[in-house]
Amino acid sequence: MTALLEIKDLHVHFPIKSGVLQKTTGHVKALNGIDLTVKKGETLGIVGESGCGKSTLARSIVGLQKPTSGDILFDGKPYTDASSKELYELRRNMQMVFQDPYTSLNPRMKVSESIAAPLKAYKKTKNLESRVKELMELVGLNPDDHYSRLPHEFSGGQRQRIGIARAIALEPQLIVCDEPVSALDVSVQAQVINLFQDLQKKLDLTYVFIAHDLSVINHIADRVAVMYLGKVMEKSHRETFQAHAEHPYTNALLSAVPLPDPDKERARERIVLKGELPSPANPPSGCVFHTRCPKATEFCKTNIPVPQERGVAGQEVACFYPVGAEEKARITL
């Protein structure tokens, strides 16, 4: 498999302006050296807490946010400095599904118009109506009943289906999904996750799937990247992700997720991280995680860990003191 998307040393910094003269007094380092690759046909899951930069990453990938430095390559071609015309061509192959199904649809546009919008933008207006109906059927909406309705007549889950129909309208290769199920009710979330999986098979799609919920990522992703404060802490394959997680942050996240199983819940030892996420405007020196890390030493305060390949194929960990097998046995089930 070849890499469809490559992200190389990506930085996105937002200036902080203050005073009457609006002088730049600092930078919020939303992304601070991200390296990722996404292979054709796979789902890369990106997980992290609020403020880790995962949404900025999504926006950078689809070209909505210009990076400060670094490169993003689609099919081998870099596009961070692309002109709007080049981006127009690119977006035919790259679409996005947003988190909030209430604000991402125009309330005055009929569902059919929302879904037809990308087709019109790319002048694919031949058999427009039948194509829109076909798309609605693909995402599980009833074209006869729903065609001319407005977004407010739909539930959250149905709106997310409309958003997905719009994203797949141009038959893109890559879809970036930014927390697409986190605003949905539990029973509806499963419908949408199943839909994502069915469409991937049917249309041969590649996903970058961003979520804060590790259980969702564990379910949908082929590979997982864990982000913290603008950096990738650990990357690995889904199959080996839990059993071999070596970064203290990954392990803390894994242990923080409540399991819907009372016996397992009572049996396991939970790592409770102290403190809160530091401000990305003033990230800690050295390893960004050291202020909350249970294993941090003086060394971590001054040295920045580089992602290194570990025992399991495809795993990379950015930590000086990865969690060993013995320690792991105590905290996993």
């Binding site: 807490e49 539990v186 029973s187 979330q189 499963a190 590790l214 199983d261 991280l273």
Partner: protein
Amino acid sequence: MLEVKDLHVHLDTPAGLVKAVDGVSFRLEAGQTIGIVGESGSGKSVLAHSLTKLNPEPPATYPKGEILFEGENILTMDKKRLRSLRGKEIAMIFQDPMSSLNPVFKIGRQLMEAIQTHQKLPKKEARQKAVELLADVGIPDPERRMQNYPHQFSGGMRQRVLIAIALAARPKLLIADEPTTALDVTIQAQIIELLKKIQKKYSTAIIMITHDLGVVANLADRILVMYAGKIVESGSTANIFYDTAMPYTWSLLRSIPRLDAAGSERLLHIEGHPPNLIQPPTGCNFHPRCPFARDACLQIDPPLSECGTDHFAACVLSKQQFDEEKQAVAEQKGVLLS
């Protein structure tokens, strides 16, 4: 300690009468933790607010039922008694910790106010107690933090402050309405541990309202599952998770992605979405979405009936019938049985 009997809460909205809570009964013993689980619109928050009569009236009305707290009916209490009950004997924490704190007053002042409302204490002692409470809920450097405003606290810290305020008068019952939903998962873990610690230390009874089955699996002794204003299953935590007797609970457990699963299994697809409570379906509220539904479900609205030791379910199927049919449904839907 708390007994809710056949409680009905209606909301009179311009679109029609919403039967938000439709005949709910349950008991809570001192020191116990009950989890109330449901999706949005299931009536769980309206139920929680009813327990201290906090639903705005109008639109809320209480046409039927009783809420007995240590023998006193909260629904017929006079305003003065209700005021002294709220906060002192029953305290509440909410989902959004920012909107529950006053942004223009310092944390210390808000906390001292909560202490002095229920106890006649001189300022100095109230202050001392406020610092102790902040330390108790795990706020570092509490002396200095007393001088901060709410915006200077992060979400998790604000939730800790609210827990401190709730604990100020040593309530017998703490009602927590989705207290961790707005928080990150590592902060959620901190708050859950804190609630457990508090329960152990003060033996406060807790009613935990959430949509997250994982949260109640950890905290609750008993679980009530709500759907469309009704309790559809209730039982010990082990019963609900391992010996499920109601199709909704069963489906919900199989529709959530789990961290402790291989990840390759399919999630159960529950058709449609929760019903509109202005025009609920006929018969059982869950029948349009239920994989076990049959003709009888369109007519019969099954009452909550005993299906095991201290285990109740509202379904036309008996526990035995349900157990027999589970496997076929799991196979047909392509999901795991256990």
